[in-house]
């Protein structure tokens, strides 16, 4: 018990201490969180009427961002898998950071869903045995289950590895017995959360733009592009500001994954657009709306073409070794661009235009409100704050700066 308490205390104090820039970053996030409590309070007390959604476009930014967090959470296994499946020594150490990303992003996604729900106070209706789950029919039930299991699998993995390393009892042989299966399960579970999320969308026959079989493939490819972008950024920062050694080979593997994920995204888009546009039936109406607008409603048009061009340009750019190997300049910039492009693709290409025309032929543009935007920023701030603190503490343990010292000095 004493060991656990000292683990928590040492981990925490290492995580919140750092240079001026680090502290400024934490304070910036805290500022958003504290001010965000106000907008969150407004939404919780007034209801979803304060966001931009309507009966025509019932899914808001929270839902779109939730899909994106599932991308990144699923992609985190790409950091874990090489170490365990291919026994890459340079990556086995880093697996725990992948798991932290997975856990934080699943938790962020669940927070987005809480903002999305009309009655978050009735969440207990979804607790097994307490409420009533419409199993095995409702896709949302599957998604809830897989997301929660993924959250706890990663929570177990992270706390176990970090604690054992902290007390210096990290023994790979003893580990293999029960811990490796847990990690393997988590690796398999990663794509699962994503496939389920894709099915929540594609199971709606009336959503012409969504009821496509390539949805899970497209999602996995986008996960492969957005997740490793964040991982590269994080690894480059860790490498620069801590003693933890991360090989170039790790970064290169991640940028290779990003490149070919972008390639698959292009293929998926092409397949989807060709299938819709060749026959150009009413199923292509939402796509036509995204591409060319409808009777002067053309809010999504620049987003559509902007995203498509960004994806193609990023693909070409990351194939170029000069950019891919420019660890301190072009690569991080490209990673930020890809991360943001996939993030913006969610509401502006995938979610909002899909609702026009509505089943009764209405075309709608979605305009997010300030409160909605701020609540999204708030949720991201909570996510990034947890990510920063957990990664910082984990790096301390991995480098050996944070470790259990027997209370000799006290005795």
């Amino acid at each position: 018990m004493k060991k656990i308490l000292s683990f928590v205390a040492d981990f925490g104090s290492y995580a919140i201490n750092g240079g001026t820039k680090y502290k400024a970053w934490l304070i910036f996030l805290l500022f958003i969180i504290v001010t965000g409590f106000y907008t969150a309070y407004i939404q919780l007390s007034e209801g979803l009427i304060v966001v931009g959604a309507s009966d025509q476009v019932p899914m808001e930014l929270f839902f779109a961002n939730f899909i994106f967090t599932a991308h990144v959470a699923a992609a985190a296994i790409l950091v874990v898998a090489p170490g365990y499946f291919y026994h890459r020594k340079d990556m086995k150490e880093l697996a725990v950071i992948g798991e932290i990303i997975a856990m934080v992003f699943v938790a962020t996604g669940i927070t987005f869903i809480l903002f999305h729900m009309g009655r978050p106070d009735r969440l207990w209706h979804m607790v097994p045995f307490l409420g009533y789950l419409n199993f095995p029919n409702s896709m949302l039930v599957y998604d809830t289950i897989v997301l929660n299991v993924y959250l706890y699998l990663n929570l177990i993995g992270i706390s176990y590895i970090l604690y054992k390393k902290y007390v210096g009892e990290f023994d790979t042989k003893a580990l293999a017995r029960w811990f490796t299966p847990v990690i393997y399960l988590a690796i398999i579970w990663g794509p699962l959360i994503h496939i389920c999320t894709a099915f929540v969308l594609s199971s709606n026959a009336r959503m012409g733009a969504w009821s496509t079989a390539v949805m899970p493939f497209g999602f996995l490819a986008m996960a492969g592009a957005s997740g490793p972008s964040l991982v590269i950024l994080l690894f480059l920062l860790i490498r620069k500001y801590s003693k933890l050694h991360i090989n170039d080979s790790v970064i290169d593997l991640m940028s290779t994954i990003i490149g070919w994920s972008l390639g698959i995204i292009m293929l998926v888009f092409a397949a989807e657009y060709f299938t819709a546009l060749y026959s150009n039936t009413e199923h292509a109406a939402p796509l036509n709306y995204s591409m060319f607008g409808h009777n002067g409603l053309n809010m999504y048009v620049p987003w559509f073409w902007g995203t498509v061009v960004t994806i193609v340009v990023s693909f070409v750019a990351i194939l170029n070794p000069k950019i891919r190997k420019s660890y301190d300049r072009w690569l991080p910039i490209l990673c930020v661009v890809i991360f943001l492009a996939i993030l913006m693709e969610k509401p502006m290409m995938l979610v909002f235009p899909a609702f026009s025309p509505s089943p009764l032929g209405e075309y709608t543009e979605y305009h997010p409100t300030f409160i909605e935007l701020y609540n999204v920023v708030l949720t991201w701030a909570v996510g990034f704050l947890s990510l920063t603190l957990l990664v910082k503490g984990a790096v301390g343990i991995l480098t050996g700066e944070v470790k259990y010292s027997k209370p000799v000095d006290a005795a």
Binding site: P58, M126, N134
Partner: protein, 355 residues
Amino acid sequence: MSDDRAETNNKKDDVTTSRRDFLKNIGIAGASTLMAGSASAGVPADSPDPDAESTAAEWLQGHFVLMSEEDKKEAINRLEKRYTAKYDKKTTVANTPPLEGVLFGYALNIGKCIGCRRCVHACVQENNQSRTNPVIHWIQVMKIPKGNFAFTADKLNDGYPKSSAFGDYGVQVGGNAYAPVGGLATEHAQSYYSADEMVPDKDYFYVPVQCQQCEKPPCVKACPVRATFRDPNGVVVIDYNWCIGCRMCQLACPYQARRFNWGEPNLPPEEMNPKTHYFGNRPRMRGVMEKCTFCVQRTREGRNPACLEACPVGARKFGNLLDPESDVRKILATKKVFRFKEEMSTYPKFFYYIG
């Protein structure tokens, strides 16, 4: 799952009881704090609060169908007390059971409909929808151009390709493509109108759309908590107290029939209809879904839905699909009947016909 039986059998359910007890043990006090901002927000500050304890009890109640008879009575008393205080008029919340051996069906004559929207407003009055912010209408009347007149000789040579070895007239696509010819295509439908619009407009026909009461409703399949389900008469209803507001049903519905209470509903007390049913027109709360129930509060008592009574041209017919003598069955047997969006395979029990 054995839920089908559970829904129809309303027997006392041990599991549900123990759930309730468990929740009670969590502590009413904690629950009422949680609820302070939500369910009780409907209670005006100046009226005597029908006590926080009843609000908490409402929050703790299970799915209505799975409750014991005793708990149902209690729940209904609680609601009646709350509504009576809030709207300052004696309100009843019925729990009239479904009728025996009845499958409700509806038929609408689009040849007769003149687009007056009286059904829409009768529905709003009967079913206590929110009047402003959000405005909720369960019936949406599509106005669809009759077409035909769109064909012109001017476009004879406008096709694609403009010229080819086969001639200069659009071998592949004719110049008169892309023009509506009526039918139930929603592509050129308009649903919004000004209050002083004269109806019927001779260039249009009108198609009122409300919940189609599908035999295979995608909304029921999508609901994660079974808050919405088919009742034994084939009507899809919602337990407003069980709905979690995730809007998966709205996403699944191909008829845009479901309406969400985006904010606290605004129902002026003087316009409130105090004769309500638990699954029907009782006042809703913020953050839950609602939709047409074929006026469950009326039809379970053998009356017609309010929209039918309001229709000035007799375009609407309602009845028991199992009774060969009912209006709907006679229409099915003798008229040209079709279902809206048949390709969705939802098997609506709302039929459209002509003539």
